[in-house]
Amino acid sequence: MPLEEVQRLVDLVRESGVGEIRVRRGETEITVKALPDAPAPPIAQPITEIAVQPAEGLASPERDGLHAVRSPVVGTFYRAPAPGEDPYVEVGDRVRAGQTVCIVEAMKLMNEIVTDVSGEVVEILAENAGGVEYDQPLLYLRPDAGQ
């Protein structure tokens, strides 16, 4: 089948809103389909024991107007530089871009987590001394206006 005809079939599908066109001529079969909305991923049957790890947070979406500081590594989240010391930040604190807001320890290495926006700390999401995944939101900032 000449390509011009196939092109016309494609146009037909697009313009008509019809889902699928199939043409078979002798040994040749041509199918033209409009893209369907993707089906949902399969929902596995409930697992007999589901262990919900309290610290195993899942990535939360950005909240309206808020900025999430996310973990760049898998590790353990700490709010303070060392046990007994004051936390880097508390809810309500103002922070500047470049300021350390917490630590994620991985392989005995303390990774200082630095915010790249200035603003006010509105929520601390991870639990102190709990595990965090890659890309997990650690805290929410309300960015300063005009950034």
Partner: protein, 462 residues
């Protein structure tokens, strides 16, 4: 028995290990990159940890992230699957140091077998035949020429750290040695960070056969009937079968005995595969893979042994208990690798949304796959979508079953190697059995009315 195992892999093999864990009552931890957030291994594991962004170097090869995930979840062992970190002796060593059981042999054995020249020497010491060639590395062109004069041409120059055909050159005569040596060494250096090479006689019309082995920590070893993996494209296996068609029983016995000698000499632990070339009635050791292989289900189908479960039991310190019957093939099995590659467009890799996914069922059919309708194949990783394994009482019936099952296998949204496998199963020479590794290169793929067919006369580069 181990209590919790982290599976440091993705795709079908991560699922395979998670399934074995569940059946043994071991808790499983999946790790996944942000590109795999919708993956089945993440869905089906008991726990899971996101370890990094899509590039493998930042996620599935990210040792600190994986070790941290194991520590955070309290895993007591790591199963590396195949690929990624499975043969990384440094990773195995780190696991050993931090008190995580690495499911596989110890790091020194991995390092030894990862060095092709050292592996060749170890095989030689264990009395396993190796291809005639250099005793160790060839440090210059003159040394290659000396070996050539001794064992004859054609020769093949191979990278010591190599694999997958990288850093490999066939040399037809002494005149070609200098150029081939330079380019092989350069390619090896670029790919493996190590330009050292060695030399072997080049065997023509050879078959790739290999022996699956298992060993426990108290010295019990098991070897299984050989697999034939000669249907390859550019050194990538496409179809594996067991037993090897037409292989005489005495060769089978010798292959199994040689493999047993080798692993006994290594104090090996866990699963592994000893690979050989087989040509005429001779076989020679090529290398040993110190890990689970893609094609392990072929052996499982003809022996009834769950190789991954045995790996986990051995890693738990348990004794192997494999009956003697497993040493004799029960029927015939074949595996087809369904890759996201378009055989009509030079095997162009495919990524994207799987619209329809309906695997075949019925008797003698096994499918290992992480696909589902609505899954998006990410462009970041290897192209294996599914393994179809078929089993029947003899090879002819296995081929018929394979044709039936491949025909039923419905995947839409991207192109796959399904039609290639149908073409191979229709090929006269393949049906007779015992094809050499040049089988696909000697043929061209032709589209005949929408179906692919193999016709003689491909170029050796295909």
């Amino acid at each position: 028995m181990l209590g919790k195992v982290l599976v440091a892999n993705r795709g079908e093999i991560a699922l395979r290990v998670i399934r074995a864990c569940r059946e043994l009552g071991i808790r499983s931890v999946a790790v996944y990159s942000t590109a795999d957030a919708d993956s089945l291994h993440h869905e089906l594991a008991d726990e899971s940890v996101c370890i990094g962004p899509p590039p493998a170097a930042s996620s599935y090869l990210n040792v600190p992230a994986i070790i941290s995930a194991a520590e955070l979840t309290g895993a007591d062992a790591i199963h590396p699957g195949y690929g990624f970190l499975a043969e990384n002796s440094r990773f195995a060593e780190i696991c050993e140091r931090v008190g995580l059981k690495f499911v596989g042999p110890d790091s020194r054995t991995i390092a030894l077998m990862g060095d092709k020249v050292a592996a060749r020497a170890a095989a030689s010491r264990a009395g396993v035949p190796v291809t005639p060639g250099s005793d160790g590395l060839c440090r210059d062109v003159a040394e290659v020429k000396r070996v050539g004069a001794e064992v004859g041409y054609p020769l093949v120059i191979k990278a010591s750290a190599g694999g997958g055909g990288k850093g490999m050159r066939v040399v037809e005569s002494e005149a070609e040695v200098a150029d081939a040596y330079m380019s092989a060494s350069r390619e090896a250096g670029a790919n493996f960070g190590d330009g050292s090479v060695y030399v072997e006689r080049f065997l023509e019309r050879l078959r790739h056969v290999e022996v699956q082995v298992l060993a426990d920590s108290s010295g019990t070893t098991v070897t299984f009937p050989e697999r034939d993996c000669s249907v390859q494209r550019r050194y990538q296996k496409l179809i594996e079968e067991s037993p090897a068609p037409g292989l005489p029983q005495e060769i089978r016995d010798s292959l199994m005995a040689a493999s047993e000698d080798l692993i006994a000499s290594l104090d090996y632990e866990g699963a592994g595969t000893v690979e050989f070339v087989y040509s005429g009635s001779e076989f020679y050791f090529i290398e040993m893979n110190t890990r689970l292989q893609v094609e392990h289900p072929v052996t499982e189908m003809i022996t009834g042994v769950d190789i991954v479960a045995e790996q986990l039991k051995v890693a738990s310190g348990e004794r192997l208990e494999v009956s003697d019957e497993a040493r004799t093939p029960n029927g015939h099995a074949m595996e087809f690798r369904i890759n996201s590659e378009d055989p009509r467009r030079n095997f162009l890799p495919q990524a994207g949304l799987i619209e329809v996914y309906n695997p075949p069922g019925g008797p003698g059919v096994r499918v290992d796959s992480h696909l589902y309708a609505g899954y998006t194949v990410p462009p970041h990783y290897d192209s294996l979508l599914a393994k179809l394994i078929v089993h029947a009482r003899e090879r002819g019936a296995t081929i018929s079953r394979g044709l039936r099952a491949l025909d039923e296998f419905a995947i839409s949204g991207l192109e796959t190697t399904l039609p290639l496998h149908l073409a191979v199963l229709e090929d006269e020479e393949f049906r007779r059995g015992g094809v050499s590794t040049g089988f696909l290169a000697e043929r061209e793929l032709r589209d005949e009315g929408g179906l692919l067919r193999l016709v003689a006369g491909g170029s050796p580069s295909a």
